[in-house]
Assembly symmetry: C2
Amino acid sequence: MKDIQLRELHRNATSYADKEVVVRGWVRTNRSSNKFGFIELNDGTFFKSVQVVYEADKISNFEEVAKAPIASAWLVRGTLVLTPEAKQPFEIKAEEVTMEADSAADYPLQKKRHSMEFLREIAHLRPRSNTFSAVFRVRSLVAYAVHKFFQEQDFVYAHTPIITGSDCEGAGEMFRITTLDMDNLPMTEDGKIDYSQDFFGKETSLTVSGQLEAETFAMAFRNVYTFGPTFRAENSNTTRHASEFWMIEPEIAFADLNDNMDLAEAMVKYIINYVREHAPEEMAFFNSFIDKGLLERLDNIVNSDFGRVTYTEAVDLLLKSGKEFQYPVEWGIDLQTEHERYLTEEVFKKPIFVTDYPKDIKAFYMRLNDDNKTVAACDLLVPGVGEIIGGSQREERLDVLTARMAELGLDEKDYWWYLDLRKYGGVKHAGYGLGFERMIMYLTGMGNIRDVLPFPRTPKTAEF
Amino acid sequence: MKDIQLRELHRNATSYADKEVVVRGWVRTNRSSNKFGFIELNDGTFFKSVQVVYEADKISNFEEVAKAPIASAWLVRGTLVLTPEAKQPFEIKAEEVTMEADSAADYPLQKKRHSMEFLREIAHLRPRSNTFSAVFRVRSLVAYAVHKFFQEQDFVYAHTPIITGSDCEGAGEMFRITTLDMDNLPMTEDGKIDYSQDFFGKETSLTVSGQLEAETFAMAFRNVYTFGPTFRAENSNTTRHASEFWMIEPEIAFADLNDNMDLAEAMVKYIINYVREHAPEEMAFFNSFIDKGLLERLDNIVNSDFGRVTYTEAVDLLLKSGKEFQYPVEWGIDLQTEHERYLTEEVFKKPIFVTDYPKDIKAFYMRLNDDNKTVAACDLLVPGVGEIIGGSQREERLDVLTARMAELGLDEKDYWWYLDLRKYGGVKHAGYGLGFERMIMYLTGMGNIRDVLPFPRTPKTAEF
């Protein structure tokens, strides 16, 4: 008899009422008297477990089952009985309970509260806990929601390269990649390391952004997106930074900054709706045990029209606020999290896009506004977190772009193909980047980026 | 007036008949007399272009438009007219044609046949060609089909790490990652490079497989999959190898080799059906211009029950064939492409799984069969290509696994967390790996892996 997964059983319990079912799963808890016992069995397909009732009179191996340790795996054949009066909606009255895999007594994830730090040390086991089961299922669903959102609008998914031969992405410190023999580096005649003998014939690094390559695809397919891992070699040990993380970077052609913000707003709402619909149990868990106001905050986002305010207006609002900030406010500064949170939480009380930042604090490729001082950038700030999306209209005018590059001392030769996009049908276009882990933190209330990554990589940490 | 994307116009042309429409796109071709002209305009959202008819009597800037160069971008307002008698199903009679972006006369992708080698040198422009527009749209659709297939069955998508601190994945040569100053490497007292000062405090590399980490997730969620970039530092310049490529690795718990093959077969058929349904124009193009028998071959796969044959039976079939192979056949050899193709193309004439390979030519984690000579492996061979999937049931018995590791000289300490999975509820489980680019080559008929990767990385090549 084929076993039934617990997701199916939970979703359609009534149709199995009083029928024989077979399930498989791992023991979460097991308690017994000398006549009967209860196993909370979980097979990983659903957030909630199923209660198995076993009785000494009904199964031949009662004593073995009564000793079933946490994490051991069993096949259970029995009758599903609805229990509308009990905490759980149904239970299985066992007729047969057979071991599929034993578990050692020193299983580290016993039924008690563990610290997040300890759980990181057993990252290979923590997805079996309630919290991480919820986090990683939500992570999976959100990843799919991102694809679904873009694919339903016929965006083309582009796998931009992870290994890059240019260091001109400019978004941060990079990791070097090499196959040279480190103990015996080849040298050129003038005493430098001979990277022409390296695997790719030159110096290479891990990408910090797929945007520049995504722009090449946008000039072919109009609407495209990337979704892949990106890397930062910054030695920053914060709860919001990881050395390896995933990023989503849509890029749209024949589009300006407003189109870009419309897309970002629609995407954020789509993701929230998707995860609310497909992981109600997990989201309720986060709301109860991780972040009390979570669902209300997410509802507020879905039901708001996101605000739009220029950087200059935002600075005025901060100056007029009368609040004392740790970082003093004046036109030209990069907004800090305290400023961002004040704007979105206290002034607007909803998500806002801040647009048109000073060019000096933004990247070279952002489109220069007519004031010659600001660029067509847009950052999305959300209550409780601050910035989660950064984007811009791109500079499509070849002369303006090369002038800006000259100002910054960037060499046109390094960007030949990027400049080509402006020579050959370089229409207006825009895009943004969404840090995937930041979004997961926001959706779950988890406070540390290490706890939304399956196996986090941070300075001095690359375990598993 | 809002512009309409060409995909929408092509899919629902009749509903726009004789109505005013606005489109934007890039010029593919432009020919004119002194009275009227035709522009083939493409906006990237659809494989086919739209024909724009412009007349000197109707638009004010006829001379400008008549000179519109290839790759320049235009907004066209006009009336959509169905043309059932013509080659194209409809055309737009222009009332207004406005330039959105010019293009220089030296645009490298003129309307003529270019070699694949030349197109690789302009990888930033080649997605604008018919062939690569088709390849990369299909690539995007197949990526989505993979996610859809697994998500519809509630598999959890796991982002396994790209940077790995262990070199025990064993699937191939690895790229080193470092932030050490290469010109001034820190040394330990005994004269070795001091990797404790490297970014992660030890030696790290790019992953060659996410399987071992995926197994940790399968022991929590039952059914999981990975889909991410993987890397090989092998110096092999073939049409089938890239240094950076994407891989899909499902892993299923409470499952054996037969479940694994059932899943792989269902996935392959799902992908083919999805791409046939969602990219009919592109697939017809491949069938006409890239690979004449393509659609017939794919139909054959969808309509076949994949064969299953043991390695031992396969070797017998090869020995009895009377064929002379370049690599002689005997029990114990690794099957070569010539053997694989003979089996799938000439003997079975459909896809086949070859199972139960000699343990000595397979990885340490594959489950040992009762004969003590073979392991529960399964490779999927398909006509025209050979192997596209490799998988196995995993060795879940701790004692058998550690004995096998000892045989191979592997250190248990390096695998402590992998062995933990066998200590704590290590149920039977199985999984496989699908090389994403191999699948795209198979679906499109493209003969070189460099031409299904947006920006391929191969030995001595990491451009863009």
